[in-house]
Symmetry: C2
Subunit: 190 residues, 2 copies
Amino acid sequence: MRYEKGHKSATHERIVEVASRRFRMAGLEAVGVASLMADAGLTRGGFYAHFCSKADLVSQAVASALDRMLLELGEAAAAGGLEAIVRVYLGARYRDAPEHGCAAASLACEIARQSHAVRAAFTRSLEVIVELIAAQLPLGSGGERRRRAVAIFGMMMGTLQLARAVADQRLSDQILESGIEAVLTLGRTP
Amino acid sequence: MRYEKGHKSATHERIVEVASRRFRMAGLEAVGVASLMADAGLTRGGFYAHFCSKADLVSQAVASALDRMLLELGEAAAAGGLEAIVRVYLGARYRDAPEHGCAAASLACEIARQSHAVRAAFTRSLEVIVELIAAQLPLGSGGERRRRAVAIFGMMMGTLQLARAVADQRLSDQILESGIEAVLTLGRTP
DNA sequence: TGTACATCAGTGAACGCGCGTTCACTGATGTAC
DNA sequence: TGTACATCAGTGAACGCGCGTTCACTGATGTAC
């Protein structure tokens, strides 16, 4: 081998990792293939040896970002249940450093306009996150908890977006607080 | 006058109207100034006689879309309170025809990355919508109802985005149902 | 052991295209004399 | 009433730039003999 074994897959993962951060920071359209490859220490031409299109990378980068968040939220949940999840998700770090935050909160509007394949990848990741949240709810049947979990994730995501979109720092803090309070209310109300 | 009185302001409103629909459909970045002006029956060059930049138009188009939604939700609220609002907002029409739906749900992720001026315009519109929702809540002090209203709008917005982003139609319907149920729960829980 | 060839991850130029913005210009109509 | 000029909404060419994708190529190293 001209490159050591595993070299290509390591490169592949590096591109996905770079993309997952930059897409969350700047959006899907604002990040070009050439600049992404440069960030990964490569040139544009090699891109299509790793991905069949930019949309293909988008699918993988979104899934990767959400998988990583799932781990982080899973650890929080193990330590402190729903309240720990929501305090991570609606915390200043997720709001102020979108590259380390939730890909759904950064990209949901754009994902809604992507191809079926991209939305299918997003759907798979979403289902697992919803399961994690549902598992933290103390009340109700499986179906009820699942439905409640969907709404809770929708609220966390929407609230984080609002906290990022407003122009006033104090208001942004209040929005996060409002979201935390409402999630906890939903978590304990049947 | 070479054009009848009010001609220019009518043109201005037409551009804002076209932009408000197309931005909601395709996103801020995907809609170019030239194609927008063509849609309004004009050529690109005249754009800067109406707006000092694309961001300026974005501010106006978002505000215009949210103002119109406010009227629609206000009418619903007058007839049926919070439940009527949420049934409009989380209805199939808003999900399937984003050009007639909520600009926040279509654009929040992108607005979060815009200039302070754009976010300030968004903030002003958001405050009014939150007030409308707060006015429908039966329980709590002014501050409590306001905070609850922020969370409710965040949930409606996030839930609508999730319903648009998933690849499965049945799941999308379930997401809307989950959101309606949770909003109503939040509306009646102190 | 030494040479010829195969492999393949990555390179970089090129394709046509649309982007936001600027600016000298057009041409229809109002006003001044 | 007739002519000259002012006004200004809108035109369209031009600027440099980055976009996603393709493709002939490079060059380091493994394998075959």
